[in-house]
Structure formats: structure tokens, C-alpha cells
Amino acid sequence: MPGVLAEGSGFDTIKHWVNVLCQPHWFMIIAVVLLIVFLVGYRKVTKPVIAGPLAAFATLAFLASCFDPNFILIVKKADNVPIVMMIVSMTFFIWLSFRQAAINDERMENGQPLLEAGADDKVLVWPDLVYIELIALVLFTAFLIVWAILLRAPLEQPADPNVAPNPAKAPWYFLGLQEMLVYFDPWLAGVVFPGLIVVGLIAIPYMDKNPRGNGYYTFKERPFAISTFMFGFVILWSVLIVFGTFLRGPNWNFFGPYEFWDHNQPAALLNREPRDLFWIEMLNRPIPGNYLLRELPGILLLGGYFILGPAVLYVLFFRKLCRQVGMLRYGMMAFLLLTMLLMPIKMVLRWSLNLHYVVAITEWFLNV
């Protein structure tokens, strides 16, 4: 192995553990735990004294990893370089906004004016905005030219309808959707869920009438709204893009960042259906022929999830919110929230139980 850092066996052990932790279930668990820690301790974590060394450590780990042949092969692919930039810029801007929120929240508690207090709410287009735009235009053009010269466009051979590249990857911004398609039927993951994401984002201003946090950074005043958004954006979108870019290899199998992308790596993922689990393993009876009866456990599970879910959430968390916004808004919010949570639930079920579909009425092409 080339490079000084790759020689010691200590590094091999670390790499091995990183590979293990990059298995999807561990990766997801770690990402969720990190997000929770970040949201709970945002006032401490965002302090430059803590965030700075963390950023330095991450940069150092990334640079050290670049000595690994398998890692550098994936990272320096022309398609993947922007995703590295995306991770860096996303982390930076999340840190920046939460840092400002932490400062503002502290000021609010002490009765001091907010960071944004002195700001003008009106800025002139000319010259204020146009100057910034001009500078951004020039800098970005220069950056794009340098990028285009340094990194070759990933052009491939002419398309052949009988051959799909292995792995076949969507453009990076669709990798979240592609990852979703691994766990759901095409009509759900390709049509219903993207539609609900768009409709749900449009519906937010109609469901959420709380004016707090308009025009200034805060977390303390909007913990639920911001946490939900961060979960959807970071875990269910950005982490899935990272999955698709760096961890999904040939045959759409998962590979650790330091693993060789072996086309012949065996991966047995024998699917199990809830009907098998219920009728055969639990009741020890043959599967009924009628498909509605056959899928009854799954239908009941899913129906209960969407019918009882809002009520359970109401009793546990949302009594006050429901009083504030009304039943209709709460119902919409709970439906969208439960639909969003369906995604991680299904992922965990697939990884842990190899569960294929909760409801699988293939006769109607209705699989959830």
C-alpha cells in the first residue's frame, strides 16, 4: 500500500472499523445520534472552540483517507468531487446558522437585542445587490473554468439500451430518490413520495402560522419545526445522497469507504414477506389464497399506522400544538410527518428483517 499512513496495522484496524460503521444501519444510527446530540447541545457544539477542532479533525481524517487507494478512487471521480464540496459547504452553513441561533437565543434570555436588530429591512438593488451579484458572477465563472479544465467531464461510450452501467447511478441530486426506490415500489418512491415532498413543502406555510423566527436566527423558539426539517434534510436527503455517491457499489451493494468495489462480492439479501412471517412463522398455517386475507396483517399494520398514529402523537406530544393550529392543520401535519417517518422505518425493517414489502398485493401492483 502506498503512503506512510497506510503502512501501520493500526490504520488497517481503524479502516476496518470505519468500514463496519459505514454499513447502512450503523451509518444511519450514528447520523441520527449525531444530529440529536447536535440539536440538543447546539449552544456548546457550535462554539468555535469545539466546532473548530472538530472541523480540523474531519479535514485531517479526510486527507489521511486519501492515501487509501480505494477511498481516493471513489472520491476523486469527477462525478463525486461536487458531493465532497456539498458535504463541506452544507456542514459549514448548518454550523453558521446554528451558531447565530445560539447567540440569538442567549441574547433573548438576557434581554439583549438580537444580532439582526440593527439591520435594514430594505437594501437598494443598485448598487448593493448588483455589485455582489457581479462579484459572485466573476468569481464563479473563474471557478467553473478552472474546474472544467482540471476535472474531465465523465463522458462514457454511446448509450446501449441492452447494457446498464454497473452500478447505474442517478445524477447526484436524485440519489436520494434512487435510494428510496430500493425500499419502495416505483409508483410510491418515484411518484407519490416525491409529489408529497413537493406538496408538503408548499403546504408548510399554510400549516405553520407561527411567526416566530421570521427574519432572525433562533432554535429555542422553533425546536420542533427546525428539528423536523433537519431530520428530513440531513438524514432523509443528504445522508441518502452520501449513501448513493460513496457507499453504493457494483450490483447496488453497500461498500465501506475503504473497501474494494468487487463486482463478484456475494451479498445474500433473501427477502421476507410479512405474510410469511405472520401465517407461516407465527400461526404455522398455510398462506390463504385470497390476496386480501393474505395481506391482512400488513394492511392492518399500515392502516393502524396512519389512523392511530396521529391520535398517539396527539396524546403524547401535540396537545398544545393542536389547540393552537386547529384539527385540520394538525391532521395534515401528522399525515405528512408519518409519511416522512415511513421511509426510515421501512429502511430499518429492510436492513434488520430483510422485509420486502409490508403490503404486497402484486396482483394489483399495489406494494407498500
Binding site: A164, L181, L269
Partner: protein
């Protein structure tokens, strides 16, 4: 003797284009509403308008349509600050009240300048006992009244804003012209919220919607078929669904569990199960990618979302909901022909239909 123009009355003529220029120049005098600009009620008092002469002149110059009009009165500027400090009570600054204060030159009035006491009696608006107003102001007041204006002047400095504000409460007919306009607009705004008006606008927009829908429908019916025909290619080139895959002999010799990939470019995998020969479609039933045959794992594996099929075409891993489809097989003169126009689906129980397989 130096003189100075002060404004006693300002109004707005028809033709305002709601450009906000006047409000920017003199916000205390002008207020730009949705459809026009009005004079703020406070500014209808000459007492209020006079010290803001400069701003009003600026606004009138800024106005792109020149609808801001005003009347001026020339006063002597010897007492330089008199117009700016309009109400100076005699008690507060007796020293500054010159005995021989020059009478103001008022353009329109013929009334000679009067002594202070006379002025106080002459103008009924001025409250008695609050001190005598400046003679210049008294003259202004007379001038305004002689033109039929109703500007009021109070000697009591502190009471001016309140008195001016009291104009708001008056009936529309009692108010001077600009304030009346504001009232009219207020009434118009209320009328817009009136249910009758809302119903009328609903009916008219519904009629408009129906009209346009009918127009769109009519156009669609008339033009639609022609457009559909235009978009249809004149020649539809479809490959022959019948693929000749070689002599039956070759398939009879196949081992059970074998896969022939030679005809993948034509969209077919030839497979042999225990005692049957079948033709599998190479299209993944999940989302239409092309899976690969992995001989080591003995499975078809899709590179797009990881769907996996056994050698027989039955799905067993990944997201795909159903097995690969099979094509009809025909033997003609000892040659096997795959007819891709006829498909057999496992989940519909069609794999046992004759034609979906050949006995080995």
C-alpha cells in the same frame, strides 16, 4: 424688504400615478394610498402646512405628473424664523414681540394689518385666553378664510396637533376638499368588502372562467385530433417481435440451470430449468433497468436498485415486486423462435400455460 413664500393650502388634482415620490419628499404631508395620494388630515391645517413649505415645494417638483398644487402667501422674512415657529405666544417671549412689528404683506387680502388684540377677536377659531397669535399668522388665517378655506389656527402651540386631528371626526361635508376625497376613498374601500360587490365580482369571474373554459374546450375539440395526428409519426418502425434463437438441438443439450446470454441484445435470456426451456425478458420488473447474470451467485442482479432474480426469473431480493416476464416460444422447422409480443407473468399464474415453455 425681504419676503418669503409660505404655503397655506395644498391639494392634489386628478392624475396621481401613485409613485410615492411625494411621500418620500414630505411624508408628514402626503400619504400615498392604493389608488391615489391624499393630504394627511393634519396637513389640512395651514398652521401645520406652513413650516413644511420647503418639503411641499420639493414634493411638487418631484411629482412626475405635477398634480400637487398649493397656494402661497408672501410674508416678510425680516422676522426670519416666524414662519418656522408659527405660534409664539406673547407671554413666553415678550421681548421678541416688537412693538412696531411690520404688518405681513398678504397677497389676496385687502384688510389692513390689525393690532394683536383685534386679530384675536377677528378670527373665531383662535381660542381666547391662550395668548395672541403672531400677526403674520393672523393675516394668513384671514387670507385663507377670505378664499373660503376652513383652515384653523390655534394660538395654543400644544393644542395644534390635537385640533388638527379633530378634523378626522367631522362629517365628510364639513371637511375641506382633500380630506373629503380621503373619506370617499374610505367609503369605496368599504364598498369593496360589501357582500353584494363580492357576489357581483364572483359572478363575473365565474362567467369569465366558464367562457374561457368553453373557448379552450372548443379549440381543443377542433384542433386536438389534428394535432394528435400531426404528432404521430408517419412511419412507425418496430423491430420484428419474433427473434430466431437457433436450432432446437442446442437447447435440448442445455444443462439444467444454464443461461444463454447470446440473445441479450435482442432482449432475451434463454434458460433451462429442471425440465423446461424458457425465454426470459431482460427488463427488470422494478423500474426497467437491464440486470446482469452473475454466474458465481447464480442470479440476475440489477445494477440500478439491487433487485435480484434467481435463474428461473423468480425475484428474491431487492425492491422488485414480481418475477421477470417470460416470452412465448415457438418451434418452426427445428428452429426456436421467441415471440416477444406475447408475455407470461408468474404472479398471474401464466408460466404453466402452453407456449410459455418448451419441454426439454
Amino acid at each position: 424688504m425681504a419676503t418669503k413664500e409660505v404655503i397655506t393650502k395644498v391639494w392634489i388634482e386628478e392624475g396621481c400615478i401613485v409613485c410615492d415620490a411625494c411621500e418620500t419628499a414630505a411624508p408628514e404631508v402626503f400619504e400615498v394610498l392604493e389608488e391615489t395620494c391624499v393630504i394627511r388630515p393634519d396637513a389640512l391645517s395651514a398652521e401645520f402646512t406652513k413650516p413644511r413649505s420647503e418639503g411641499i415645494v420639493d414634493a411638487a417638483e418631484e411629482c412626475p405628473t405635477d398634480v400637487i398644487k398649493f397656494e402661497t402667501v408672501t410674508v416678510e422674512a425680516s422676522d426670519a424664523d416666524a414662519p418656522v415657529e408659527p405660534v409664539v405666544s406673547a407671554e413666553e417671549s415678550p421681548a421678541e414681540q416688537p412693538v412696531a412689528k411690520p404688518a405681513p404683506v398678504v397677497s389676496k387680502t385687502t384688510e389692513p394689518s390689525a393690532p394683536k388684540a383685534a386679530t384675536a377677536k377677528a378670527s373665531p377659531v383662535v381660542s381666547s385666553g391662550a395668548g395672541d397669535p403672531d400677526p403674520a399668522i393672523a393675516a394668513l388665517l384671514r387670507a385663507a378664510k377670505s378664499r373660503g378655506g376652513s383652515a384653523g389656527i390655534l394660538a395654543n402651540e400644544a393644542a395644534v396637533p390635537g385640533e388638527a386631528g379633530a378634523l378626522r371626526g367631522k362629517a365628510a361635508a364639513d371637511l375641506p376638499p382633500d380630506a373629503r376625497q380621503a373619506k370617499v376613498q374610505e367609503a369605496a374601500r368599504k364598498a369593496r368588502k360589501d357582500p353584494d360587490a363580492a357576489r357581483r365580482s364572483l359572478i363575473s369571474s365565474a362567467a369569465l372562467g366558464i367562457g374561457w373554459s368553453a373557448f379552450g374546450l372548443g379549440t381543443g375539440v377542433a384542433v386536438g385530433p389534428a394535432f394528435a395526428r400531426f404528432m404521430m409519426p408517419n412511419v412507425l418502425e418496430e423491430p420484428d417481435p419474433r427473434v430466431r434463437v437457433g436450432p432446437l438441438r442446442r437447447y435440448a443439450e442445455m444443462e439444467p440451470g444454464a443461461v444463454i446470454e447470446d440473445f441479450k441484445p435482442q432482449g432475451v435470456w434463454m434458460i433451462r430449468t429442471r425440465n423446461r426451456i424458457a425465454a426470459l425478458s431482460i427488463i427488470c420488473t422494478h423500474l426497467g433497468c437491464i440486470p446482469n447474470w452473475l454466474p458465481n451467485d447464480r442470479k440476475f442482479k440489477c445494477p440500478c436498485h439491487g433487485s435480484g432474480y434467481r435463474q428461473s426469473g423468480i425475484n428474491f431480493e431487492g425492491p422488485t415486486p414480481r418475477p421477470l416476464e417470460r416470452f412465448r416460444l415457438v418451434v418452426e422447422d427445428g428452429v426456436v423462435i421467441v415471440d416477444k409480443s406475447k408475455r407470461y407473468q408468474f404472479e398471474l399464474g401464466q408460466w404453466d400455460q402452453p407456449g410459455s415453455y418448451l419441454e426439454a
